[in-house]
């Protein structure tokens, strides 16, 4: 126990050497690994798997929406009974497709795949720690996620199909097995999978927060943390506060479904017969769900914003503009995320006064969001920009964040939201600002930190092709949806061709579908690039992006413990790019001010004395526990 603590606190270099002599079998090294870097890769690979599944699901329902008359007989070998005798997609399976697309993308890809990967990978490396506070809990976090994935995947193979009540699983639709096929076994498995997922998120989140607070290396104060760490930190805080509430909501739903309680059910008639359930409230579920659901969109978004901050500053060769404002806006977004949930519920018959309060709070989020956008633009402004693939995806994120964020201001107004509620306008809004933007953040992160993860470079040319096809494609998919939505198309509908009023939009829907399939196809360029480069990519230099942060001071293939010798001490913030007077256009965090006399600012010269004093302190590890 003691040895373990000493090692994880990262102060004791002797312990690490002792650790290095452990024999690691294949199983402990790659499968049940407690090394944060391996766990990060496990999250990444699983996330990529789920992204492919989620993407294929959306391709299938885009086929139905864009080509309503097309025969889908050729999908019968895969989908079997879900293709009707006339060669069409089964309408209930269509609902299952959109439900699972949403669930998989929001939770499995953009929460576990994004936070799980980059929080695990970057936190210890960028704050200068040997590993997470508890490697064991970290390993459990991944395996709970894996178990959750298996359960969710199993629900596809049920005869009644996976959950199909929408990713928000509103009761009574999700609570009554009679309501829809997907509310039978599929919904049960959905709830089990989500319960496991919540456990995984909490284990991960608690570990991330503890690690960032407790295990920073010497000199790594909060105002010297890279913005990635700040973003991942606040993401974890939001997760620890909001996921338990989803657990409560799901628990009561489980009782309603399987034990006959009436938390969410009241006055329901099926086939003229009244159900015995009395006294519940379906709106209660919406309150509980959106108390998680809204913070969840920031759990998805914040890591992308953090990754982008880091990549844009590095590749503009400029300090991030407004470092403290960036932290402040992250904090502002994190706090506001908990007090705006009811803007998803403007049409539930809410008291208009209450609606106004939630409207104002929602609109206030525009302020920190705009601060971030302007800071990104100001960082880029007159920068010595290097267009690496990671940089392009980061700029793409900023673009989506702006264009999707603007429609958020529309939808935040109750008066505009009511006619637009549950139309394709909403779909366009959240896919741009949350889905596409976060996805770009994830891709940017993969391109940027691939050299650290695998010791090799990804191919930049393929990266450029991937970027442009995806970037243009995403706009071609989601921009027309605004018009479709303003025209009143409701989301989640299987077909509109039965309504004359919507017939004029058939062409536009076909266009969107073609673009969506093209974007999907473009992702295979990335997949090829990713897997090919793992084995055959060019060997990466130690610091390929000439970056300041600590992860680039580790060996090309860091072992368990990250630094073979002592952990570097941090003397400065991570954004000293193109500092006037400096020889190079970057000064890494481990370079003391005493070695950069030519570029120091007056107040930094004063810090030299403090540095000397710090260095004279030798930490006696044996007495600290």
């Amino acid at each position: 126990m003691d040895q373990h603590i000493a090692e994880t606190t990262g102060y004791h270099d002797e312990q690490w050497h002792a650790h290095g002599h452990h024999k690691e079998s294949f199983v402990t090294k790659y499968i049940f690994s407690q090394d944060h870097k391996v766990i990060a890769k496990q999250f990444l690979i699983t996330g990529i798997f789920w992204a492919i599944v989620g993407g294929i699901l959306s391709s299938i329902f885009r086929l139905q929406l864009g080509f309503p008359d097309m025969s889908l007989e050729w999908l019968r070998p895969i989908l079997g009974g879900w293709i009707t005798d006339t060669g069409k997609l089964d309408p209930e399976f269509y609902l299952a497709l959109v439900t699972m697309h949403g669930t998989i993308m929001v939770f499995f890809v953009l929460t576990a795949g994004l936070s799980g990967t980059f929080a695990n990978f970057l936190i210890p490396l960028q704050i200068g720690a040997r590993d997470m506070a508890s490697g064991f809990l970290n390993m459990l976090s991944y395996w709970f996620f894996f178990a959750s994935s298996v359960v969710m995947l199993c629900s596809f193979f049920l005869k009644t199909g996976p959950a199909s009540g929408g990713w928000v699983v509103y009761p009574p639709l999700s609570a009554l097995p009679q309501a829809i096929q997907g509310s039978q076994g599929g919904m049960t498995l959905w709830l089990i999978a989500m319960a496991l997922f919540i456990i995984s998120s909490l284990l991960g989140g608690i570990n991330y927060i503890t690690t960032i607070i407790n295990l920073r290396t010497r000199g790594m104060t909060f105002t010297r943390l890279p913005l990635t760490i700040w973003a991942l930190f606040l993401t974890a805080v939001i997760g620890v506060l909001s996921f338990p509430v989803l657990f409560s909501a799901a628990l009561l739903l489980i009782f309603d479904r399987s034990f006959g309680t009436s938390f969410y059910l009241s006055d329901i008639y099926i086939g003229g017969e009244a159900l015995t359930n009395q006294g519940g409230s379906a709106i209660l579920f919406q309150h509980l769900f959106w108390f998680l659901g809204h913070p969840e969109v920031y759990i998805v978004m914040l890591p992308g914003l953090g990754i982008t901050s880091e990549i844009i500053a590095t590749n503009s060769r400029k300090p991030i503009f407004g470092y403290r404002a960036m932290i402040g806006s992250l904090l502002g977004i994190a706090i506001l995320s908990f007090v705006v949930w009811a803007h998803h519920m403007f049409v539930t018959g809410m008291n208009p006064f209450l609606g106004s309060i939630f409207m104002i709070l929602t609109l206030i989020i525009a302020v920190p969001s705009a601060v971030k956008v302007f800071n990104y633009l100001a960082t880029l402004w007159k920068g010595n920009i290097r267009f690496t693939p990671g940089m392009l995806f980061s700029i793409g994120l900023v673009s989506f964040f702006i264009s999707g964020g603007l429609t958020g201001i529309f939808l935040g107004n109750a008066a505009i939201d009511i006619p637009l509620h549950d139309t394709y306008f909403v779909v366009a809004h959240f896919h741009l600002v949350m889905a596409a933007a976060s996805f770009f953040g994830m891709l940017a992160g993969v391109y940027h930190w691939f050299p650290k993860m695998f010791g090799r470079m990804m191919d930049a040319k393929l990266g450029y092709i991937h970027f442009w096809l995806t970037f243009i494609g995403v706009y071609l998919v989601f921009f027309p949806m605004h018009y479709i939505g303003i025209a009143g198309f409701p989301r989640r509908y299987y077909s509109w061709t039965n309504f004359d009023v919507f017939n004029s939009f058939t062409d536009l829907n076909t266009f969107v579908s073609v673009a969506a399939l093209a974007v999907m196809a473009a992702q295979f360029i990335f997949l090829f690039n990713f897997f090919y480069s793992i084995f055959r990519g060019r060997i990466a230099p130690a610091n390929p992006w000439r970056s300041n942060t600590l992860e680039w001071t580790t060996p090309l293939h860091p072992g368990h413990g990250n630094w073979p010798g002592a952990i570097p001490t941090v003397y400065r913030w991570p954004y000293d790019y193109s500092k006037p007077g400096a020889e190079e256009d970057f000064i890494p965090q481990y370079v003391p001010f005493s070695e950069t006399m030519e570029s120091n600012l007056p107040h930094e010269n004063d810090l030299i004395a403090l540095e000397k004093e710090e260095e004279s302190i030798v930490i006696d590890e044996s007495k600290s526990h």
Binding site: I5, T9, V240, L241, S248, V618, S624
Partner: protein, 193 residues
């Protein structure tokens, strides 16, 4: 190393809380969020009307007394551990564990009293909530008892003493929290049921 060396016993750490203890506090925060959401759901639901009136089982008073007593004893056990009175520590942890089990049995009997009053788990949410709140608390208390048993075993092996208190401190924190959580739920139910 030059001659200019200063040995310090406690290095200036960013935060002087042990990482495992800090993680425990975060875990407690997540449990608080579960019960905060459930009790606020209770209030919201009550505001909707169609609410059942019922009395709380009298057994809750006894179980509350048991859990408070167990917390006090465990605190005494902590003092004993700090003073290296290892035998007393073992006995106190054992009694605390037993009282925890007594608490669980009492909660079960309380459910029986509810059934006798015709307040069922399946029925009006007013009654269901009492079962969910007390049941979910009991589930967490079970994890506390497992923790106590772990501490009991390590106290038998003399692994808990003034020089090695981390595990004991975490156990005490968690147990006090579970007790306080029940007192909160009980007071909440008294005022809102």
């Amino acid at each position: 190393m030059g001659t200019n060396i200063r040995l310090v016993e406690n290095p200036s750490r960013p935060l002087s809380v042990h990482p495992h203890k800090f993680a425990l506090w975060l875990f407690i925060v997540s449990i608080v969020m579960i019960f905060a959401s459930l009790t606020s759901a209770f209030i919201v639901k009550q505001g909707d009307g169609s609410w059942l009136d019922y009395n709380l089982p009298s057994m809750f008073w006894y179980t509350t007394a048991a859990i408070i007593l167990s917390s006090a004893l465990l605190q005494w056990g902590y003092f004993a551990a700090r003073a290296n009175q290892l035998k007393r520590l073992t006995v106190l942890v054992a009694i605390t564990t037993l009282l925890g089990m007594v608490f669980l049995v009492g909660q079960w009997l309380a459910w029986g009293q509810l059934v006798d009053m015709e307040v069922y788990f399946v029925g009006n949410p007013a009654g269901s909530f009492v079962y969910v709140l007390s049941g979910l608390h009991a589930f967490h208390l079970l994890s506390g008892i497992i923790f106590l048993i772990v501490v009991f075993v390590s106290s038998l092996k003399h692994k808990i003493h003034s020089g090695n208190l981390v595990r004991m401190e975490m156990c005490v924190t968690y147990w006090h929290f579970l007790g306080a959580l029940w007192v909160y739920l009980f007071v909440f139910l008294i005022f809102y049921h």
